[in-house]
Structure formats: C-alpha cells, structure tokens
Symmetry: C2
C-alpha cells in the first residue's frame, strides 16, 4: 500500500475518531553535549521534519491528547507537558497535503495547540510509528540545515522564546541535567537557553543565592583540570522556587 | 422570539459560518480606583456572567477571530490581545446549554482559546450586543460574589496568574494607567496584580532602576498630603524593556 492509499484508509477512521480542525504539536527539549536538542520525526511520505503531533479524540481532554500522541508517535511518556501557544493561522498547512485527494480528512484546516517539555534524553526509548521513517533528536545548531513541514520551525522558535522567558522567573534544569552535575554544566544549560555567554562569577553567585542547589561531597574526576564539585538540586527548595517564582518585587 | 427560538435560528447560520469545536474567550483587565477590574457580559437567557467570547470563521486566523468577537460583543477595539492558555477539557461546557435542543450548534464541545489584554478603561465605549443584557466592568474583589458560566472563573484566574508571572520579567502599566501618574499609583497597580503589599522604599528604588520612567515637572494637586510628583513612561526605554525583559542572568 503506498502512502496515498494508507492515508485515505485512515482518513475514514479519523473522521469518526477525532475532532475536526484541532491538533497538538509538542516540542521536547533535551540537553546533551552542552547543547539543547529537540525531538523530531520524518514521515514516510515526506522528507520535511515534523514535531510529534496528532489529533484530539472526540471525548478526550486536550492535555491528554497531547500526552497520548507523544507516546504513540515517539515512545515518550512520563513527561510534564506545558501548553505554550496556539498556531491558528488560516493557511498554515495549506500546501502540506496538496498532492493528496481533497477528500482526505487530514487535508482540512487545523488549529494546533503547542506543548513543550524539558526532558532528560537519557530516559528516552524512542520508537518509530507506522507513519514515520525516523524519530530523532536534532541539535538546535542543526535546525537551520533541515527542512520543516508547515509552520513547525516557528512553533519551535516560540517554544524557545517561552523557555527563555521562563528562565527569568522559574528555576530550570531539573529534567534536563543528570542527577549530579557541575556548576559549569548548569551554566552551559543557561547559556544555551539564553543563547548568550554568561559571566562565570556572576552566574555562580546568582544561582547559589537561589538556594535550590545542594553541594555534594563528590567531585567530577577525569578531566584535564582540577576536579570540580558536583551539585544536585534541593528537591524541596526547587519545588518552592517553582511555585513562588524567583523574582521579588 | 424567545431565546430558544433565537438560538435555533442562528444555529443554522453558525454551522455554515464557523469552525466547529473552537471558540475564543478574552479577559480584558482595566485598572481604576486602585483596583483591577475585568470586562464581563450577562446574556439575555442566562444570569451567569461570561467573558466576551465567540467563534472562529472558517477562513479566519484565530487571533483575528478573538479581535472581531471582542469588538462585536463589547465594542472594544484597538487593543493588543495576547493568547495565554487553552481551555480544552472535554466536559467544560457540558451543562451550559442543557435546556436547549440537542440540535443546537452551540451545544457541541468547544475548546476555547484564551486571550488577555491590559486596557485603559477610560478608552472604552462599551456596547451590548443582541444576545446580551449587560456588558460591564467588575472589580476583582467582587468576582467571588457573582456566578460564572462554564469554566470562565478559571479562565480569569489563569489570566491573572499569567499577568503575575509577566510582571516579573516585563514592565507593566502602559495600557492600565493614565498618561501621567504618581509612583504611589504605579505601586498600587503592582500590588493589585501581585495581590500583596510592597515596601514603598524598595518598590520606588527598583522601579526607578528599570529606567522606564520619566519624572515630569508637575505634581498631583488637591490631596490632603504633600503634592506628589507625576511620572510618565519613557516610550523608548519601556519598549526596549518589553523586548529584552527585565531580569538578567
């Protein structure tokens, strides 16, 4: 069965199963090699890359739909998804199915609800679903080299902007770093999210002042330089800072 | 024509005109008498209060729909709307139209896109549309006394939370205060958004340090106390602070 036939077959089922006009797309950020990366799919019938996205069942809460889709399409579960934006331009997917028949359910207009999550890539057992050829982490620095379907590049950029704003009033790192990390690794995470270099002394002072770190009686061994101290997040204080925010008026 | 008949008539038109399952609801905040207030409607057939909300035309961008709805239902235009959340629980409006026939288009499941705006209430020429009895500003302190339709109280609370987070990394006040204001009035605005008292000295120091204020050679006269200095926002620096954010890592 070619992809035209495959799609027309599921088109009929989709019509009964899902709400029309509504989809979810999720931006999963991971941190690795001192760089942010994002989880993307490539489908069997199209070489452009896509976020793991899908549709909303007729009786399903939107948040549940986003979680189910992520699990079905990428194998990622147990992740806290946060809605960050709606992508509702009338013609946002105008050309995506242009080589398919007009009767295809998937060819209608979709308003997509964007979710994002911070995820430790070590925890991922990625899968490839029946519609996809690939499900991969792609580093942010490589995104300019690939072609995206529809407005998915814009969705990632909006998610990054949201993350950048968030870092100014919430602690970040819990789901992105391993349990034990150095201050230098934490600084790299902040630098990659903010897309700028930070002064080491200032960063160390500010991050310690937040009270969310606990210094361990261990050092990272094996590097060329002096073995740096390892830290972990203080669960209780981190949670408090998440709830109350970092900035005080 | 009673409201059942009126609704069944527009139900047929709505089906042709709008996307199913999608609506917008907008929270307009104003500041007055040192307190925040929000714009609400009361419809002819129901005593519960509602946000100005409506549907999305089949070929209309979502953002444009929210603007059109706000203008049609409340007479408010020229306002910058920001999307802040999606309200997509399956049964969020389950009982709202329960006394209407099942064939009513409006009785289907709707996922609502929430927008909010900060608006100077002096600029409003409120209207009441054909479906509404009232369109009024209600102070936040009075919201606990009124009954809301569906999840509209929750939508307002989420908008307030968004505003509270925003105030930690963006300047706020431009569309809420008159052109000339005292530092005490600006402090009251921050206090009402943050829902807590601020130390006067700390607040004055911090807000001046942002560089977004310009002191005028004028004082507010007529009060019982010493006439306080008037300030205005420095357009250029305010805009820069909006773009770059207030907090620096």
């Amino acid at each position: 069965m070619d992809s035209q036939q495959q799609f027309l077959k599921i088109s009929e089922e989709a019509k009964d199963l899902f709400l029309p006009h509504l989809s979810t797309d999720t931006v999963i950020f991971g941190f690795d090699q001192n760089e942010l990366k994002v989880l993307l799919l490539q489908m069997t019938y199209r070489k452009q890359w896509l976020l793991p996205g899908g549709y909303v069942k007729k009786d399903e809460d939107i948040d549940d739909a986003a979680k189910r889709v992520l699990k079905e399409r990428a194998g990622v579960s147990d992740v806290y998804l946060e809605e960050f934006g709606v992508f509702g331009k009338n013609k946002r997917s105008e050309f995506y199915f242009e080589d398919f028949e007009d009767s295809l359910w998937h060819k209608q207009r979709f308003v997509s609800i964007g979710y994002y999550a911070l995820y430790n890539p070590d925890n991922a057992n990625l899968i490839v679903d029946e519609f996809s050829d690939k499900c991969e982490w792609i580093y942010l620095s490589k995104l300019s080299e690939i072609e995206f379907a529809m407005d998915h590049r814009e969705i990632i950029e909006k998610a990054l902007l949201t993350l950048r704003e968030k870092i100014s009033y919430k602690p970040i790192g819990y789901n992105l770093l391993p349990e034990k990390f150095t201050l230098s690794e934490l600084q790299k995470l902040y630098e990659t999210i903010l897309d700028k270099q930070l002064n080491r002394g200032n960063f160390y002072r500010k991050i310690k002042n937040l009270g969310i770190l606990r210094k361990l009686d261990e050092q990272r061994r094996g590097g060329a330089h002096k073995s740096p101290d390892l830290y972990t997040f203080d669960d209780e204080n981190y949670k408090k800072a998440l709830e109350n925010g970092l900035t005080n008026w």
